[in-house]
C-alpha cells in the first residue's frame, strides 16, 4: 500500500515539473528565425557561445507564422525574418523595440535535376526552353502568397515570361524548407529554393544548383531584417549586436547569404 502511495507521489512531482520550470529567459533568450537561415544561425549561436559563454535558444519556422505568434504573445526576444515586410508589420503594430536592421540578403537558387538544363549562363532562359519542350513535369516553388522566396520565384518566372507555362507543372510548397524537401526526396525536375537550405540539404550533389542574381526577380527584395522584440533583455541585445559583426557577416556569407546592401553602424571585432 505504501509503495503505491510513493509511486503516486513521485508521479505527481514528476508531472508537475513543467508548471514550476524556470521562466522563459533563464535558459537564454529565445530567438525566432526564418527556417531558411537555420544552418547559418545554428553555427552563429554555437560560435557566440564559444566566444562569450552565453547561449541563446533558437526557434525556427516560416517568417509569417513566427510574426503571427509574436502578435499573439510568443515569448521571443529577437526575430530574424526572411524578408522586411513581416518586420515592418510588427513595427507598425508596436510589437518591436528599436530599429530593424538588415542582417543579410537572401539568395534565390535554381535547382534542376542532372542534365535537364545543362551548364548555362542564363538558367531562366534554359528553363523557358525546357518548359516549351515539355521536358519539365514538376516545378516547385514556396507559396508565393506569403513566402518571400516563393514570391521571388514567381517574379523570376514572370520576368522571364514563363509563368504561364510554369503554372501547368507547378507544385507549391508550404514554405521554402518544404520546397527543398520536395527537391531532395520528391520526383521534381526544377525547384526554386533558398541557397542556405539548398546547401544544407546538399542539393548540389543530386542535381545542378545555381544562384540567381537579384535582377532576375525585379520588384521583389530578399533583404532579410531582424528586430528586437519588447521582451529583449541585455543578453539579447548583446547577441543582436554580435549578429551585425564581421564574424557573423562571414558566417552568413559562407552559408549562401549575400551581404546586406547597407552596412550596419554596429560593426564589432
Amino acid at each position: 500500500m505504501r509503495n503505491w502511495r510513493t509511486c503516486i507521489a513521485v508521479l505527481f512531482f514528476w508531472s508537475t515539473g513543467p508548471f514550476y520550470s524556470v521562466p522563459a529567459f533563464a535558459n537564454g533568450p529565445i530567438v525566432a528565425a526564418a527556417a531558411s537561415i537555420r544552418p547559418a544561425l545554428e553555427e552563429l549561436s554555437a560560435r557566440y557561445n564559444q566566444v562569450t559563454g552565453q547561449s541563446v535558444r533558437l526557434v525556427f519556422g516560416s517568417s509569417g507564422t513566427l510574426a503571427n505568434q509574436i502578435v499573439n504573445g510568443a515569448p521571443y526576444a529577437l526575430f530574424l525574418s526572411a524578408n522586411t515586410a513581416y518586420v515592418q508589420w510588427l513595427v507598425d503594430l508596436g510589437f518591436t523595440q528599436g530599429v530593424p536592421v538588415t542582417y543579410a540578403s537572401g539568395v534565390l537558387a535554381l535547382y534542376s535535376r542532372p542534365g535537364l538544363l545543362g551548364q548555362t549562363e542564363n538558367p531562366l532562359l534554359a528553363l523557358g526552353n525546357a518548359l516549351e519542350g515539355g521536358t519539365i513535369k514538376r516545378l516547385v516553388i514556396a507559396n508565393p502568397e506569403y513566402a518571400p522566396y516563393g514570391s521571388a520565384a514567381r517574379a523570376a518566372l514572370e520576368h522571364a515570361g514563363t509563368w504561364v507555362q510554369a503554372k501547368q507543372v507547378l507544385l507549391v510548397a508550404a514554405n521554402a524548407g518544404q520546397a527543398v524537401q520536395y527537391a531532395l526526396e520528391g520526383d521534381v525536375d526544377v525547384a526554386f529554393v533558398p541557397m542556405p537550405l539548398a546547401r544544407l540539404a546538399e542539393l548540389q550533389k543530386t542535381g545542378h544548383l545555381q544562384a540567381l542574381p537579384s535582377e532576375a526577380f525585379p520588384n521583389v527584395e530578399l533583404d532579410q531584417q531582424m528586430v528586437l522584440l519588447p521582451d529583449a533583455d541585455q543578453k539579447t541585445q548583446e547577441f543582436f549586436a554580435y549578429l551585425q559583426s564581421i564574424d557573423s557577416r562571414e558566417i552568413f556569407s559562407r552559408h549562401g547569404l549575400g551581404a546586406p546592401a547597407l552596412i550596419s553602424p554596429n560593426l564589432q571585432h
Partner: protein, 225 residues
C-alpha cells in the same frame, strides 16, 4: 534522441489523461442516460475535434486565448499564466482535441448498462455513488480503459495544435512529435527516424498493454462462467 522532448510528451499525456478522463466519464455517462432531444447535436459537438484539422483548432485557440485576446488578458490577470506558448496552454489545447476520444467510448460503454440494473440497485437502497461504483463502473470500465488508451496514444502523437499553440520552444513546448518535425526541417533524417521509431514503439506498447488488460479480463470472465 531529444529526451527533454520525450519527457515533455509524457508529462503532457499524463496531465491530459488525469484531467480529461473524469470529464470523459461524467460527460459520457450523462450522454448515455440523457433523454434530451439535443443529444445528437451534443454528440456532434463533442466529435468536432475529430473533423476539424488540428492546426485550425490551434490557430483559433491562439486567437481566442492569446495575450491580446480578452480571455487571454483575463486569465493572465487572475492566474498570472498565459494559455499560449506555455505548458498549461498545451494541456488545455490537448484536452480540447482529445474530447471525442475520452467521451465517445465511455458513452457507448455506459449505454450497455441496462435500466433494470438501476432499478435493482434502487431496490437494494444503493446510493447513486454506490450504484456508480458497484454496478455501472464494473460493467463500463472496458470503455473507460479504451478512452484512456486512445487519449494517451493520441496525445503522444499530437502535432498541429501543439505547434500552433506551443510554438516549438526547446525545453518548454517542444514535444517529441515537434522535435521530429524540427529534425526533418533541419534535413537530419537519421535523428528524425530514431525519434519517430521510438515514439512508434512507445505508442504500440501502450496500446497493446491496454488491450492486453481487456483480453485478460475477458478470459477470466469466460473461465468463471
Amino acid at each position: 534522441m531529444d529526451w527533454n522532448a520525450f519527457n515533455l510528451s509524457l508529462q503532457l499525456a499524463a496531465w491530459t489523461l488525469a484531467l480529461l478522463l473524469p470529464i470523459g466519464v461524467v460527460t459520457g455517462r450523462w450522454l448515455a442516460r440523457t433523454q434530451t432531444l439535443a443529444r445528437p447535436w451534443l454528440q456532434a459537438f463533442f466529435a468536432l475535434p475529430l473533423v476539424l484539422p488540428p492546426t485550425v483548432v490551434g490557430y483559433y485557440l491562439l486567437i481566442f486565448t492569446g495575450t491580446r485576446s480578452p480571455l487571454g488578458e483575463l486569465i493572465m490577470s487572475w492566474f498570472g499564466v498565459s494559455l499560449v506558448f506555455s505548458f498549461p496552454g498545451l494541456v488545455v489545447a490537448s484536452i480540447l482535441v482529445n474530447l471525442p476520444f475520452a467521451i465517445l467510448p465511455v458513452q457507448r460503454a455506459f449505454e450497455v448498462v441496462s435500466s433494470e440494473l438501476y432499478d435493482a440497485a434502487a431496490c437494494c437502497a444503493m446510493t447513486p455513488w454506490q450504484t456508480f461504483t458497484r454496478v455501472e463502473m464494473p460493467l463500463a470500465w472496458p470503455g473507460v480503459l479504451s478512452a484512456a488508451v486512445l487519449t494517451l496514444g493520441h496525445t503522444l502523437g499530437e502535432f498541429g495544435v501543439v505547434l500552433m499553440v506551443g510554438g516549438n520552444i526547446p525545453g518548454e513546448t517542444r514535444t517529441l512529435s515537434i522535435a521530429i518535425f524540427d529534425r526533418v526541417q533541419a534535413f537530419d533524417p537519421l535523428a528524425a527516424g530514431q525519434m519517430a521509431g521510438f515514439l512508434l514503439l512507445i505508442s504500440l506498447v501502450t496500446v497493446a498493454l491496454g488491450y492486453g488488460v481487456l483480453e485478460k479480463r475477458d478470459q477470466r470472465k469466460r473461465r468463471s462462467a
